[in-house]
Protein backbone atom coordinates (compact mmCIF):
# COMPACT_ATOMS: atom_id res chain seq x y z
CA UNK A 1 0.00 0.00 0.00
CA UNK A 2 1.12 3.56 -0.62
CA UNK A 3 1.97 5.67 2.40
CA UNK A 4 -0.29 8.37 3.80
CA UNK A 5 -3.15 7.88 1.32
CA UNK A 6 -5.69 7.25 4.08
CA UNK A 7 -6.25 9.03 7.39
CA UNK A 8 -8.12 8.60 10.65
CA UNK A 9 -10.57 11.53 10.82
CA UNK A 10 -12.73 10.33 13.70
CA UNK A 11 -11.76 8.55 16.90
CA UNK A 12 -13.56 8.04 20.17
CA UNK A 13 -14.08 5.61 23.01
CA UNK A 14 -17.35 4.91 24.79
CA UNK A 15 -18.59 7.78 26.96
CA UNK A 16 -17.76 5.71 30.04
CA UNK A 17 -15.05 3.10 30.57
CA UNK A 18 -14.80 0.55 33.36
CA UNK A 19 -18.04 -0.85 34.72
CA UNK A 20 -21.02 0.03 32.51
CA UNK A 21 -23.96 -2.03 33.80
CA UNK A 22 -26.56 0.06 31.97
CA UNK A 23 -25.51 -0.85 28.41
CA UNK A 24 -25.43 -4.07 26.42
CA UNK A 25 -22.46 -4.90 24.25
CA UNK A 26 -24.08 -3.74 21.00
CA UNK A 27 -25.11 -0.46 22.60
CA UNK A 28 -21.49 0.05 23.65
CA UNK A 29 -20.60 -0.33 19.95
CA UNK A 30 -23.21 2.29 19.09
CA UNK A 31 -22.10 4.66 21.86
CA UNK A 32 -18.50 4.54 20.57
CA UNK A 33 -19.63 4.83 16.94
CA UNK A 34 -21.83 7.86 17.60
CA UNK A 35 -19.02 9.52 19.54
CA UNK A 36 -16.58 8.92 16.67
CA UNK A 37 -19.06 10.18 14.09
CA UNK A 38 -19.58 13.35 16.14
CA UNK A 39 -15.80 13.71 16.52
CA UNK A 40 -15.48 13.60 12.72
CA UNK A 41 -18.40 16.00 12.19
CA UNK A 42 -20.18 13.43 10.05
CA UNK A 43 -23.69 12.00 9.79
CA UNK A 44 -24.43 8.27 10.00
CA UNK A 45 -25.47 8.40 6.34
CA UNK A 46 -21.91 9.45 5.41
CA UNK A 47 -20.59 6.01 6.44
CA UNK A 48 -20.34 3.54 3.54
CA UNK A 49 -17.94 0.99 5.02
CA UNK A 50 -18.21 -1.00 8.26
CA UNK A 51 -15.70 -3.23 10.00
CA UNK A 52 -16.11 -4.93 13.35
CA UNK A 53 -15.12 -8.08 15.25
CA UNK A 54 -17.05 -10.62 17.37
CA UNK A 55 -20.25 -8.79 16.51
CA UNK A 56 -20.86 -9.09 12.76
CA UNK A 57 -20.88 -6.15 10.33
CA UNK A 58 -24.56 -6.85 9.65
CA UNK A 59 -25.40 -6.52 13.36
CA UNK A 60 -23.63 -3.16 13.56
CA UNK A 61 -25.00 -1.93 10.21
CA UNK A 62 -28.54 -2.79 11.16
CA UNK A 63 -28.29 -1.36 14.67
CA UNK A 64 -26.88 1.93 13.36
CA UNK A 65 -29.16 2.05 10.32
CA UNK A 66 -26.37 2.00 7.71
CA UNK A 67 -26.37 0.16 4.36
CA UNK A 68 -22.67 -0.04 3.46
CA UNK A 69 -20.91 -0.83 0.17
CA UNK A 70 -18.00 -2.51 1.94
CA UNK A 71 -17.77 -4.67 5.05
CA UNK A 72 -15.02 -6.47 6.93
CA UNK A 73 -15.82 -8.96 9.68
CA UNK A 74 -12.23 -10.05 10.34
CA UNK A 75 -12.32 -11.41 13.87
CA UNK A 76 -8.92 -12.68 14.98
CA UNK A 77 -9.01 -11.50 18.59
CA UNK A 78 -7.84 -8.28 20.17
CA UNK A 79 -5.80 -7.07 17.19
CA UNK A 80 -8.75 -7.38 14.78
CA UNK A 81 -9.01 -3.59 14.68
CA UNK A 82 -5.43 -3.21 13.46
CA UNK A 83 -6.34 -5.55 10.62
CA UNK A 84 -9.51 -3.54 9.99
CA UNK A 85 -7.44 -0.35 9.64
CA UNK A 86 -5.17 -2.10 7.16
CA UNK A 87 -8.06 -3.54 5.15
CA UNK A 88 -10.01 -0.28 5.24
CA UNK A 89 -7.00 1.67 3.97
CA UNK A 90 -6.69 -0.75 1.04
CA UNK A 91 -10.42 -0.58 0.32
CA UNK A 92 -10.51 3.22 0.38
CA UNK A 93 -7.50 3.38 -1.92
CA UNK A 94 -9.16 0.87 -4.26
CA UNK A 95 -12.33 2.98 -4.36
CA UNK A 96 -14.58 0.35 -2.76
CA UNK A 97 -15.84 2.86 -0.20
CA UNK A 98 -15.11 6.41 0.97
CA UNK A 99 -15.69 6.56 4.71
CA UNK A 100 -15.17 3.54 6.93
CA UNK A 101 -16.40 3.07 10.49
CA UNK A 102 -14.52 0.51 12.63
CA UNK A 103 -16.18 -0.40 15.91
CA UNK A 104 -15.22 -2.43 18.94
CA UNK A 105 -17.10 -2.93 22.18
CA UNK A 106 -17.19 -5.52 24.86
CA UNK A 107 -19.24 -5.92 27.97
CA UNK A 108 -16.25 -7.79 29.38
CA UNK A 109 -17.04 -7.10 33.03
CA UNK A 110 -20.83 -6.78 33.15
CA UNK A 111 -21.38 -9.49 30.49
CA UNK A 112 -24.58 -7.92 29.14
CA UNK A 113 -25.55 -9.04 25.64
CA UNK A 114 -22.23 -10.86 25.31
CA UNK A 115 -21.99 -14.42 24.06
CA UNK A 116 -19.76 -16.52 26.34
CA UNK A 117 -16.64 -17.81 24.64
CA UNK A 118 -16.66 -21.56 24.23
CA UNK A 119 -14.34 -24.21 22.82
CA UNK A 120 -16.13 -27.12 21.10
CA UNK A 121 -14.79 -30.48 22.38
CA UNK A 122 -14.22 -31.70 18.81
CA UNK A 123 -12.11 -28.69 17.78
CA UNK A 124 -8.33 -29.09 17.89
CA UNK A 125 -8.19 -26.79 20.92
CA UNK A 126 -11.00 -28.78 22.54
CA UNK A 127 -9.18 -32.07 21.99
CA UNK A 128 -5.57 -31.11 22.60
CA UNK A 129 -5.61 -28.17 25.04
CA UNK A 130 -8.90 -27.97 27.00
CA UNK A 131 -8.50 -31.41 28.68
CA UNK A 132 -5.30 -30.22 30.38
CA UNK A 133 -6.96 -27.50 32.44
CA UNK A 134 -6.63 -24.33 30.40
CA UNK A 135 -9.40 -22.04 31.48
CA UNK A 136 -9.38 -18.54 30.09
CA UNK A 137 -6.47 -16.37 28.92
CA UNK A 138 -4.59 -16.20 32.28
CA UNK A 139 -4.03 -19.96 32.15
CA UNK A 140 -2.91 -19.91 28.50
CA UNK A 141 -1.22 -16.67 27.51
CA UNK A 142 1.62 -16.96 30.08
CA UNK A 143 2.50 -20.56 29.10
CA UNK A 144 5.46 -19.43 26.92
CA UNK A 145 6.93 -17.08 29.57
CA UNK A 146 9.20 -19.45 31.51
CA UNK A 147 10.83 -20.66 28.29
CA UNK A 148 11.19 -17.08 27.04
CA UNK A 149 12.83 -16.09 30.35
CA UNK A 150 15.27 -19.00 30.21
CA UNK A 151 16.23 -18.45 26.58
CA UNK A 152 16.68 -14.69 26.84
CA UNK A 153 17.81 -14.30 30.44
CA UNK A 154 14.77 -12.29 31.53
CA UNK A 155 14.13 -11.95 35.29
CA UNK A 156 10.95 -11.91 37.38
CA UNK A 157 11.86 -8.40 38.53
CA UNK A 158 12.08 -7.17 34.93
CA UNK A 159 8.65 -8.63 34.18
CA UNK A 160 7.34 -6.91 37.32
CA UNK A 161 8.75 -3.59 36.11
CA UNK A 162 6.49 -3.74 33.05
CA UNK A 163 3.50 -3.32 35.36
CA UNK A 164 5.24 -0.68 37.50
CA UNK A 165 6.13 1.53 34.53
CA UNK A 166 2.70 1.29 32.97
CA UNK A 167 1.13 2.34 36.24
CA UNK A 168 3.29 5.47 36.05
CA UNK A 169 1.66 6.30 32.71
CA UNK A 170 -1.82 5.45 34.03
CA UNK A 171 -1.33 7.89 36.91
CA UNK A 172 -1.34 10.68 34.31
CA UNK A 173 -4.57 9.51 32.72
CA UNK A 174 -7.88 10.52 34.35
CA UNK A 175 -9.73 7.71 32.52
CA UNK A 176 -7.35 4.96 33.66
CA UNK A 177 -8.93 2.28 35.85
CA UNK A 178 -5.88 1.85 38.13
CA UNK A 179 -3.81 4.94 39.00
CA UNK A 180 -2.16 4.32 42.39
CA UNK A 181 1.63 3.84 42.14
CA UNK A 182 3.00 0.32 42.59
CA UNK A 183 6.47 -1.11 43.22
CA UNK A 184 8.25 -4.26 42.06
CA UNK A 185 7.61 -5.72 45.53
CA UNK A 186 3.90 -4.94 45.21
CA UNK A 187 3.81 -6.83 41.92
CA UNK A 188 5.83 -9.81 43.16
CA UNK A 189 3.69 -10.09 46.29
CA UNK A 190 0.33 -9.68 44.60
CA UNK A 191 -2.05 -12.62 44.31
CA UNK A 192 -0.78 -15.50 42.20
CA UNK A 193 -2.88 -16.15 39.11
CA UNK A 194 -0.81 -18.49 36.93
CA UNK A 195 2.84 -18.82 37.90
CA UNK A 196 4.97 -16.95 37.00
CA UNK A 197 2.32 -14.23 36.67
CA UNK A 198 0.55 -12.49 39.51
CA UNK A 199 -2.56 -10.37 39.28
CA UNK A 200 -0.69 -7.10 38.70
CA UNK A 201 0.89 -8.67 35.61
CA UNK A 202 -2.51 -9.62 34.15
CA UNK A 203 -4.82 -7.29 32.27
CA UNK A 204 -7.87 -5.69 33.81
CA UNK A 205 -11.39 -6.88 33.02
CA UNK A 206 -13.65 -3.97 32.14
CA UNK A 207 -16.50 -2.78 29.90
CA UNK A 208 -16.02 -0.33 27.07
CA UNK A 209 -15.64 0.29 23.39
CA UNK A 210 -14.06 2.45 20.75
CA UNK A 211 -14.55 3.46 17.13
CA UNK A 212 -12.45 4.90 14.33
CA UNK A 213 -13.42 6.64 11.09
CA UNK A 214 -11.08 6.52 8.10
CA UNK A 215 -11.23 8.29 4.78
CA UNK A 216 -8.86 9.28 1.98
CA UNK A 217 -6.05 11.63 2.95
CA UNK A 218 -7.16 14.08 0.27
CA UNK A 219 -10.54 14.47 1.98
CA UNK A 220 -9.08 14.39 5.48
CA UNK A 221 -7.99 18.04 5.52
CA UNK A 222 -11.66 19.12 5.44
CA UNK A 223 -12.47 17.45 8.76
CA UNK A 224 -12.53 19.26 12.13
CA UNK A 225 -9.61 17.33 13.71
CA UNK A 226 -5.98 17.03 12.75
CA UNK A 227 -5.74 14.07 10.34
CA UNK A 228 -3.72 11.07 11.48
CA UNK A 229 -2.26 9.33 8.44
CA UNK A 230 -1.77 5.59 7.99
CA UNK A 231 1.94 5.33 7.20
CA UNK A 232 2.48 1.57 7.31
CA UNK A 233 0.57 -1.62 8.04
CA UNK A 234 1.18 -5.32 8.64
CA UNK A 235 -0.73 -8.41 9.70
CA UNK A 236 -0.34 -12.14 10.19
CA UNK A 237 -1.63 -15.18 12.05
CA UNK A 238 0.14 -18.21 13.48
CA UNK A 239 -1.94 -20.75 15.43
CA UNK A 240 -5.02 -20.76 17.66
CA UNK A 241 -3.21 -23.24 19.95
CA UNK A 242 -0.56 -21.64 22.14
CA UNK A 243 1.06 -25.07 22.59
CA UNK A 244 1.69 -25.23 18.84
CA UNK A 245 3.61 -21.98 18.40
CA UNK A 246 6.78 -22.66 16.42
CA UNK A 247 8.81 -21.34 19.35
CA UNK A 248 8.18 -19.68 22.70
CA UNK A 249 11.28 -17.53 22.17
CA UNK A 250 9.36 -15.16 19.86
CA UNK A 251 6.07 -14.81 17.97
CA UNK A 252 5.92 -15.71 14.26
CA UNK A 253 2.88 -13.47 13.76
CA UNK A 254 4.67 -10.51 15.41
CA UNK A 255 7.75 -11.12 13.27
CA UNK A 256 5.68 -10.87 10.09
CA UNK A 257 3.28 -8.03 10.96
CA UNK A 258 5.79 -5.66 12.55
CA UNK A 259 8.50 -5.69 9.87
CA UNK A 260 5.84 -5.46 7.11
CA UNK A 261 4.57 -2.24 8.66
CA UNK A 262 8.07 -0.77 9.08
CA UNK A 263 8.94 -1.63 5.48
CA UNK A 264 5.73 -0.11 4.14
CA UNK A 265 6.23 3.01 6.26
CA UNK A 266 9.81 3.35 5.10
CA UNK A 267 11.00 4.29 8.58
CA UNK A 268 13.72 3.09 10.92
CA UNK A 269 13.21 2.23 14.57
CA UNK A 270 15.01 5.41 15.65
CA UNK A 271 12.25 7.41 13.91
CA UNK A 272 9.58 6.09 16.31
CA UNK A 273 8.42 8.70 18.85
CA UNK A 274 5.66 6.69 20.49
CA UNK A 275 4.91 2.99 20.81
CA UNK A 276 1.92 0.91 21.80
CA UNK A 277 2.35 -2.85 22.31
CA UNK A 278 -0.82 -4.66 23.32
CA UNK A 279 -0.16 -5.82 26.89
CA UNK A 280 -2.73 -8.42 27.84
CA UNK A 281 0.02 -9.77 30.12
CA UNK A 282 3.38 -8.40 31.22
CA UNK A 283 5.50 -10.40 28.78
CA UNK A 284 3.93 -8.98 25.64
CA UNK A 285 5.85 -5.68 25.55
CA UNK A 286 9.09 -7.71 25.68
CA UNK A 287 8.05 -9.94 22.81
CA UNK A 288 6.99 -6.83 20.90
CA UNK A 289 10.24 -4.94 21.44
CA UNK A 290 12.19 -7.96 20.23
CA UNK A 291 10.01 -9.18 17.38
CA UNK A 292 9.40 -5.72 15.96
CA UNK A 293 13.15 -5.26 15.81
CA UNK A 294 13.64 -2.48 18.36
CA UNK A 295 16.29 -4.58 20.11
CA UNK A 296 17.33 -8.16 20.80
CA UNK A 297 14.92 -10.00 23.12
CA UNK A 298 17.83 -10.31 25.56
CA UNK A 299 17.82 -6.51 25.95
CA UNK A 300 14.07 -5.99 26.27
CA UNK A 301 13.66 -6.76 29.98
CA UNK A 302 16.61 -4.59 30.93
CA UNK A 303 15.43 -1.80 28.61
CA UNK A 304 12.09 -1.55 30.42
CA UNK A 305 13.55 -2.11 33.91
CA UNK A 306 16.03 0.73 33.36
CA UNK A 307 13.18 3.15 32.70
CA UNK A 308 13.53 3.72 28.97
CA UNK A 309 9.80 3.31 28.38
CA UNK A 310 8.52 5.32 31.37
CA UNK A 311 7.34 8.95 31.27
CA UNK A 312 10.34 10.98 30.10
CA UNK A 313 12.10 7.86 28.76
CA UNK A 314 13.52 7.63 25.26
CA UNK A 315 10.83 5.25 23.95
CA UNK A 316 7.42 6.08 25.51
CA UNK A 317 5.48 2.80 25.59
CA UNK A 318 1.82 2.14 26.40
CA UNK A 319 1.23 5.73 27.41
CA UNK A 320 -2.43 5.28 28.35
CA UNK A 321 -1.44 2.77 31.06
CA UNK A 322 -2.11 -0.21 28.80
CA UNK A 323 -4.28 -3.24 29.33
CA UNK A 324 -2.61 -3.66 32.71
CA UNK A 325 -3.74 -0.30 34.13
CA UNK A 326 -5.91 1.66 31.65
CA UNK A 327 -8.65 -0.78 30.69
CA UNK A 328 -9.09 -4.16 29.01
CA UNK A 329 -12.53 -5.19 27.87
CA UNK A 330 -11.26 -8.38 26.24
CA UNK A 331 -10.12 -7.11 22.83
CA UNK A 332 -7.85 -4.23 23.77
CA UNK A 333 -6.41 -3.44 20.32
CA UNK A 334 -8.95 -0.67 19.73
CA UNK A 335 -7.79 1.21 22.85
CA UNK A 336 -4.15 1.01 21.75
CA UNK A 337 -5.20 2.52 18.40
CA UNK A 338 -7.18 5.26 20.19
CA UNK A 339 -4.10 6.20 22.23
CA UNK A 340 -1.91 6.32 19.11
CA UNK A 341 -4.44 8.62 17.45
CA UNK A 342 -4.59 10.88 20.53
CA UNK A 343 -0.80 11.08 20.59
CA UNK A 344 -0.69 11.97 16.90
CA UNK A 345 -3.39 14.61 17.39
CA UNK A 346 -1.41 15.99 20.33
CA UNK A 347 -4.27 15.61 22.82
CA UNK A 348 -3.26 12.57 24.92
CA UNK A 349 -3.47 12.96 28.71
CA UNK A 350 0.20 11.94 28.89
CA UNK A 351 1.21 13.60 25.64
CA UNK A 352 4.66 12.83 24.24
CA UNK A 353 5.89 16.30 23.23
CA UNK A 354 6.34 16.69 19.49
CA UNK A 355 5.56 13.05 18.64
CA UNK A 356 5.30 12.59 14.87
CA UNK A 357 5.37 8.81 14.40
CA UNK A 358 3.44 6.26 16.46
CA UNK A 359 3.72 2.47 16.13
CA UNK A 360 0.69 0.53 17.35
CA UNK A 361 1.14 -3.23 17.64
CA UNK A 362 -1.61 -5.68 18.53
CA UNK A 363 -1.95 -9.33 19.42
CA UNK A 364 -4.97 -11.58 18.95
CA UNK A 365 -5.72 -14.73 20.90
CA UNK A 366 -2.67 -16.22 22.64
CA UNK A 367 -0.09 -15.08 20.05
CA UNK A 368 -2.58 -16.41 17.45
CA UNK A 369 -2.70 -13.23 15.38
CA UNK A 370 -1.00 -9.90 15.03
CA UNK A 371 -1.53 -6.50 13.43
CA UNK A 372 0.73 -3.46 13.30
CA UNK A 373 -0.26 0.06 12.26
CA UNK A 374 2.18 2.95 11.97
CA UNK A 375 0.61 6.41 12.13
CA UNK A 376 2.00 9.86 11.44
CA UNK A 377 0.62 13.38 11.75
CA UNK A 378 2.73 14.71 8.86
CA UNK A 379 1.97 14.02 5.26
Amino acid sequence: MRRNQVAVVGAAETTELGVIPNMSQIQLHADAALNAIADAGLKLSDIDGIATAVETPQQIAHYLGITPTWVDGTSVGGCSFMLHVRHAAAAIEAGLCKTVLITHAESGKSMIGKQPRSTPPDSLNGQFESPFGVYGPPSMFPIPVLRYMKTHGITHEQLAMVAVVQREWAAKNPRATMKAPITVDDVLNSRMIAYPFRILQCCLVTDGGGALILTSADRAKDFPNKPVYVLGTGESVETPMVSQMKSFDSSCAFKVAGPLAFKEAGIAHKDVDHLMIYDAFAHLPLYGLGDLGFMAHEEAGKFIAEGNTRPGGKLPLNTNGGGLSYMHSGMYGMYALQESVRQMRGIAPAQVPGAKISVCHGVGGMFAASGTIIFTNER
Partner: protein, 137 residues
Amino acid sequence: MAEPARAKPKPTPETQHFWDGTRAGELRLQRCDACANVYFPPRPFCPACASREVSVLKASGKGKLYSYVINHRPAAPGFTPPYAIAVVELDEGPRMMSNIVDCPQTPEALELDMKLEIAFEKLDDAITLPLFRPSKG
Protein backbone atom coordinates in the same frame (compact mmCIF):
# COMPACT_ATOMS: atom_id res chain seq x y z
CA MET B 1 -24.00 -34.05 42.92
CA ALA B 2 -20.91 -35.30 41.08
CA GLU B 3 -17.85 -33.07 40.95
CA PRO B 4 -17.60 -31.22 37.64
CA ALA B 5 -15.42 -33.27 35.29
CA ARG B 6 -12.47 -32.07 33.24
CA ALA B 7 -13.14 -31.12 29.64
CA LYS B 8 -13.30 -34.28 27.55
CA PRO B 9 -12.06 -34.41 23.96
CA LYS B 10 -14.42 -35.54 21.22
CA PRO B 11 -12.50 -37.26 18.40
CA THR B 12 -13.08 -36.42 14.74
CA PRO B 13 -12.38 -38.68 11.75
CA GLU B 14 -8.95 -37.08 11.42
CA THR B 15 -7.97 -37.53 15.08
CA GLN B 16 -9.58 -40.90 15.88
CA HIS B 17 -6.30 -42.80 15.41
CA PHE B 18 -4.69 -40.66 18.12
CA TRP B 19 -7.39 -41.39 20.67
CA ASP B 20 -7.50 -45.08 19.67
CA GLY B 21 -3.77 -45.04 20.37
CA THR B 22 -3.93 -43.56 23.85
CA ARG B 23 -6.68 -46.03 24.71
CA ALA B 24 -4.32 -48.83 23.61
CA GLY B 25 -1.41 -47.37 25.59
CA GLU B 26 0.37 -45.80 22.60
CA LEU B 27 1.22 -42.21 21.82
CA ARG B 28 0.67 -41.93 18.07
CA LEU B 29 2.14 -39.22 15.88
CA GLN B 30 2.16 -38.90 12.10
CA ARG B 31 5.09 -38.89 9.69
CA CYS B 32 5.06 -37.68 6.11
CA ASP B 33 6.07 -40.43 3.67
CA ALA B 34 7.35 -37.81 1.24
CA CYS B 35 9.44 -35.48 3.40
CA ALA B 36 9.75 -37.43 6.70
CA ASN B 37 8.28 -34.54 8.72
CA VAL B 38 6.85 -35.77 12.04
CA TYR B 39 3.93 -33.62 13.14
CA PHE B 40 1.11 -33.01 15.61
CA PRO B 41 -1.83 -32.38 16.02
CA PRO B 42 -3.27 -35.01 13.68
CA ARG B 43 -4.37 -34.29 10.11
CA PRO B 44 -4.34 -36.52 7.02
CA PHE B 45 -1.73 -34.49 5.12
CA CYS B 46 1.68 -33.06 5.82
CA PRO B 47 1.64 -29.42 6.99
CA ALA B 48 5.22 -29.02 5.74
CA CYS B 49 4.87 -30.27 2.14
CA ALA B 50 1.10 -30.91 1.66
CA SER B 51 1.57 -34.59 0.74
CA ARG B 52 -1.44 -36.75 1.55
CA GLU B 53 0.84 -39.79 1.87
CA VAL B 54 1.34 -39.93 5.62
CA SER B 55 1.76 -42.75 8.15
CA VAL B 56 0.93 -43.14 11.79
CA LEU B 57 3.87 -43.98 14.05
CA LYS B 58 4.13 -45.02 17.65
CA ALA B 59 6.13 -42.39 19.50
CA SER B 60 8.62 -43.22 22.23
CA GLY B 61 6.55 -41.42 24.85
CA LYS B 62 9.68 -39.60 25.96
CA GLY B 63 10.22 -35.90 25.97
CA LYS B 64 11.22 -32.89 28.02
CA LEU B 65 9.49 -30.01 29.74
CA TYR B 66 9.42 -27.08 27.31
CA SER B 67 7.39 -24.60 29.37
CA TYR B 68 4.47 -24.38 31.79
CA VAL B 69 2.30 -22.29 34.08
CA ILE B 70 1.09 -23.30 37.51
CA ASN B 71 -2.53 -22.28 37.40
CA HIS B 72 -4.02 -20.91 40.62
CA ARG B 73 -7.19 -19.19 39.48
CA PRO B 74 -9.62 -19.55 37.93
CA ALA B 75 -9.34 -23.35 37.98
CA ALA B 76 -10.84 -25.40 35.17
CA PRO B 77 -13.65 -27.81 36.10
CA GLY B 78 -12.20 -31.06 37.39
CA PHE B 79 -8.90 -29.48 38.51
CA THR B 80 -7.75 -28.61 42.02
CA PRO B 81 -5.41 -25.62 42.04
CA PRO B 82 -2.54 -25.10 41.96
CA TYR B 83 -1.90 -27.35 38.96
CA ALA B 84 0.66 -27.15 36.18
CA ILE B 85 -0.35 -26.84 32.54
CA ALA B 86 2.70 -27.92 30.60
CA VAL B 87 3.97 -28.05 27.05
CA VAL B 88 6.09 -31.14 26.45
CA GLU B 89 8.62 -31.38 23.65
CA LEU B 90 8.60 -34.97 22.43
CA ASP B 91 11.84 -36.69 21.43
CA GLU B 92 10.35 -37.01 17.92
CA GLY B 93 10.08 -33.19 17.66
CA PRO B 94 6.45 -32.13 18.01
CA ARG B 95 5.21 -30.43 21.17
CA MET B 96 1.94 -31.07 22.96
CA MET B 97 0.07 -29.66 25.91
CA SER B 98 -0.29 -31.96 28.91
CA ASN B 99 -0.11 -32.20 32.70
CA ILE B 100 2.81 -33.44 34.78
CA VAL B 101 1.79 -36.13 37.29
CA ASP B 102 3.71 -37.81 40.11
CA CYS B 103 5.50 -34.52 40.73
CA PRO B 104 4.91 -31.59 43.13
CA GLN B 105 3.25 -28.75 41.26
CA THR B 106 5.92 -26.23 42.24
CA PRO B 107 8.54 -24.16 40.38
CA GLU B 108 11.24 -26.01 42.33
CA ALA B 109 10.08 -29.46 41.21
CA LEU B 110 9.17 -28.46 37.67
CA GLU B 111 12.48 -27.66 36.05
CA LEU B 112 12.54 -26.65 32.40
CA ASP B 113 14.10 -29.33 30.19
CA MET B 114 13.57 -32.08 32.79
CA LYS B 115 13.06 -35.47 31.17
CA LEU B 116 9.51 -36.78 31.02
CA GLU B 117 7.77 -39.97 30.03
CA ILE B 118 4.20 -40.72 29.08
CA ALA B 119 1.64 -41.62 31.76
CA PHE B 120 -1.77 -42.51 30.37
CA GLU B 121 -4.85 -41.51 32.33
CA LYS B 122 -8.12 -43.21 31.47
CA LEU B 123 -11.13 -40.91 31.65
CA ASP B 124 -13.69 -43.41 30.40
CA ASP B 125 -13.99 -46.29 27.93
CA ALA B 126 -13.53 -43.95 24.96
CA ILE B 127 -10.95 -41.43 26.12
CA THR B 128 -7.53 -41.88 27.69
CA LEU B 129 -5.44 -38.72 28.08
CA PRO B 130 -1.69 -38.54 27.40
CA LEU B 131 -0.15 -37.13 30.59
CA PHE B 132 3.55 -37.11 31.54
CA ARG B 133 5.61 -37.89 34.64
CA PRO B 134 9.27 -37.23 35.49
CA SER B 135 11.36 -39.82 33.71
CA LYS B 136 12.62 -42.66 35.89
CA GLY B 137 15.46 -43.60 33.55
